[in-house]
Assembly symmetry: D2
Homo-oligomer: 362 residues x 4
């Protein structure tokens, strides 16, 4: 049992605090002989990196990673892969004045109560800086999935009330990286960006929704009854900082439907004589197991808790006080969270891909 | 690793198929000296039971359970608790004609592809009959939580587009069990019931949403970074048959908000000198750890897949065929699912209550 | 985490007490489509059964098992397999007088202190009756291993100071079941039996050693660094009641040797062009991974704690008292423990066989 | 599931290869507010370090460790603790000539067959260099146990046929660190040292036995039926490189005894009115749970596989060849293994100490 580990066969363990010496991850169970493309890992980190555009935090983080183990002559060996990123850009002083109070909707209060101690610098272990480790592990997972022709693409589908009305099947997802908000609908993207710029000027923050699409998944991934594929995806997403909701396929909208509309009828497609469904309200998963259709799901993100406006809170002496955050922050976490959503999805898929191998008869 | 087990310290393992000899659960890690109230377990099973009203399936199931181990002279001993329910009301014949085809949006196809074999009688392992085991384990968990003054109450908050507009804080949740749909807003409840009756007459089914409220949770439950309390709740709920979505606190609505509205400011309440928040968009969990406020979340359920209308599908010979289900089914799973949602919530809370004990310094 | 579960991918969970309603096991992760030979399971149980000869306890146990789930039309389905055995031959009265005292070298004292409660009837959960569950799970594992041409044979190699001097390679292991003590060296077997009869007449008990040999293991089973194959075998054996020691290959005797004698040199055998070792001090495992040679290990068993002689002990009122056990008991547990050792070995091998499949590329 | 992790609640994950960039460990589940004494960690590493005397390998390793996370202002925070040691003293060239052959009784052959690739430099992941990570984690565990008044002391009790005849209770264990072999019986220690010097001159190696004693253990540690305290200790020890056997209490000698001699009778000691046993053949554990007496066990170590004598083996082209190791090696691993045995024992005890807290009633 390890609260900082995730995955059964493709098992990641992350460590590190926002302003500690380093952040890192150990990946245990990665199949051997996988070629490690370090440029790809760097690129994934760049997608998560703060400071990549004017709508993300201006905070600058170093993302130079070092692989400490598990890779020999460019390939994985089956031994645990440890990767670390040093923390160089400490601005701990920013947090000195906050160390005696509990920032609203942050984890300051709950960590201090649970553990009796907290590293107050930048949120310590509760900081989203931890997701650097997830993105590195996710990059390795993506390299594995690429060999299996499985691809993952997430995008920002909603910021506050500005939303992409088209379904993912009507969009060209390859356009996602073309703008700073990572929304493949360029027109909506510009509206989102304008809104975030406005919110940023007010010192406020804003929430939104990320949609993630996984293509090329073979039939059979997922392990009922508890480790259903979408249950594990749900846990993975809800473990990401600021994620407050998850739904798969028809999701919350499915609650509005009749069975006769919702059911995905099976059909033989003559050309390939393959079983397909004529609709995909199931989101590619039935009974917790992938059915070969696209998997798609949504993640709801609350607005970032750090805002530059004055707020009321309580200090360690149990006094009501007011505070105003000084640190740099994201007005909207979504463009950066796209890479984190994809990383966690890749980890879940790789894990279940390996789990499913057990059932093949020799 | 066990796909049919859930929980770390309060660990349940379920087994059994819809039409096999028996369903059951082993609970490992239940603290010793807990008094087992068998009437309470029976009552929980009755809340899940089919045939309890005209809006649930007329299928009749026996719920006489037998405790095989782990309880001595009415108290738990610390040894694993095994509880089984025999399957007496087999109507396997109902399923004979379906054994050669894949029912739309059921798990027939994915199970057969994954395992190379399936028990086609009533869905076998993929049947919601499995949740009998969860409700029994949940009842034990509730008995434990009762000793800690933690209570759990779920209710049906939406059926199709008929929804309870009031927030849970404006409702009298003790009224939930007063009607067949398990909705504490009596007026809305009657509308829901009418809709389900209509849907049932059409041989169709309908989805909806269950809201669950947990009160009395101490500060400190939850284990970041992956086993955040709401991440484990999310997985628990998404592992329930037909559940397609989960959100906590502000959830998907939080995506629409600004940080300045969403943040829950801390306040000292003078009378008790206790730290409280003035709003609860966090849903009682911050940074993955309970903060002492009420925990509340929603679960979206799709309409039941079994309908009595003709549908198109594929048979085992890869031919397109049409089918019509003969078996008895629920037009709406929600009133019965209330007990399952509560059971899974109780299991998660008990597990994290025990996990949190590790951190107290002797 | 579950203290009553063992194995990662082939995962067993046992439950039940000596005089409770039933004992049983859930096996999760058994590959689907395995044919279940119920006669074979019965036969394995018969090898463990009390009362099978004059040198085992005259206590009679029923071993009629019932498969509750996971098997459909004679084959496993991939769903958890639950098997139970009802307890019919309760003689709880035998234990009434012992309920207020702690039997020497039993688990009465430690269970009561740990859990604050114990089922005193026949030792409750601490009774070796629990191994019924292991033998049933082991039988399933053996059926799987048989398909892989892996065979397991244990035998009694020592009782007190009477020992088989020949190495296992010099013995005909097929003779093991020919006598009541399960020793393939008939002459030594008779000496062992005579000793046990004498010990039994004195109301005493005696210890000994079981040797286990596993043939046909492919190269590659075992998962360093912690789940080395022999480390998992060691834990499996040491978890058996009364087992106090384990060694693999040269074992404790290897401590006496020089590296130049101990090292197993690799050699190509021309006929099959296969890598073999010219000696096997490693016991078939190197670096925690099987190397294709026979695996062999020893398990030391202490003498059974229940004896019919008067002993000194302490009662629940913390008074020194003397006691004399009335219940039926084994003068020597070894002939029955042979089946338990094999069962646990089969579970470990099956588990690591499945674990190793993850590494094969696609 | 993670083969490079050990422990349930006090969970360690190690990574790194002999000649990779770094070795390290993540400890997840360490209670917060534990003071970290870095000098103590350094001292434990020094006890394991090569080159500490003329009877260990002259290979020099750097043991400068760096704590990357989980410690804030000198105390643990409840977050995972990552500690690494850089590998500075690579002499990979020593291994170049060995990369094409399988060294006898090393893991070269099994790793290559299992993973399809191996880091041949110094044994890669299979090298005992990995135990640096264990010793660091063990040092943290010892700091925790020290607070609970639990102490662990191991010593070399046998080298080849030279053995300490006295029982541990007759020895002054505080003398253990006084000589290079770590044997508290000075006279025997000198004989051992002479033997090792002789073996070293011959380019050979020699095995032996380490005895470990744990004092101050409260009643109640251990989790039947599978996670018995001695079963977990056994697995921990058998996972150490070169360890081929484990026994607890009377162990293999117990196999020679009668129940009437072996049983440990309970007695009330009047002065403290505490339940004690009048003998301790159980080795402090009954039914898998500690009974408050001293825990003691033995570990058998084979002679180190690396010797400087010519040996026969096979190369990657499946040809029979002869080889002679050039690298530096230990003639006897035991004096250094004392710290590793203690470290693993400390990890098991800490884990079960935390596990046992779950059972205390609030």
């Amino acid at each position: 049992m390890s609260a900082n580990s995730f995955g059964e066969l493709f098992n990641i363990s992350t460590f590190g605090e926002s302003h500690g010496a380093a952040l890192g991850v150990i990946i245990d169970g990665c199949p051997p002989l996988l070629k490690i493309d370090t440029d790809f890992i760097l690129n994934e980190l760049a997608r998560r990196k703060p400071g990549q555009s004017n709508i993300t935090t201006e905070r600058n983080e170093d993302n130079e990673f070092e692989i400490l183990s598990g890779v020999f002559e460019g390939k994985t060996t089956g031994a645990p892969i440890a990767i670390i990123v040093k923390n160089n850009n400490h601005q701990s002083k920013d947090y000195d004045e906050l160390k005696d109070m509990y920032r609203p909707s942050h984890a300051d209060y709950t960590y201090e109560k649970k553990y009796g101690i907290r590293d107050y610098r930048g949120g310590g272990r509760s900081s989203a800086r931890e997701t650097v480790a997830r993105v590195m592990a996710g990059a390795i997972a993506k390299l594995f999935l690429r060999e299996q022709q499985i691809s993952i693409q997430a995008y920002v589908s909603q910021v506050a009330n500005i939303k992409v009305e088209k379904r993912y099947t009507e969009l060209d997802l390859s356009q996602t990286e073309k703008n700073n908000i990572r929304c493949p609908d360029e027109k909506v993207a510009q509206q989102m960006i304008s809104l975030i710029e406005e919110v940023k000027q007010n010192g406020d923050s804003v929430g939104g929704i990320i949609t993630c699409v996984i293509k090329g998944v073979p039939v059979g991934l997922g392990a009922p009854v508890f480790d259903k594929l979408h249950a594990d995806l749900g846990k993975a997403m809800l473990s990401i900082n600021a994620c407050k909701g998850f739904d798969i396929g028809s999701g919350f909208d499915g609650a509005l439907m009749r069975g006769s509309e919702h059911n995905d009828e099976f059909r033989i497609q003559n050309l390939e004589s393959k079983i397909r469904t004529s609709s995909n309200n199931s989101g590619g998963i039935q009974g917790g197991i992938s059915n070969g259709e696209d998997i798609f799901f949504r993640c709801a993100f609350k607005p970032v808790s750090t805002i530059k406006m004055e707020q009321q809170t309580v200090n360690l002496n149990l006094q009501n006080v007011s505070m105003k955050a000084a640190g740099r922050h994201d007005p909207c976490v979504l463009p950066r969270a796209v890479s984190i959503v994809e990383a966690m999805a890749a980890i879940v898929l790789t894990d279940h891909f390996l789990r499913n191998k057990i059932y093949s008869r020799i």
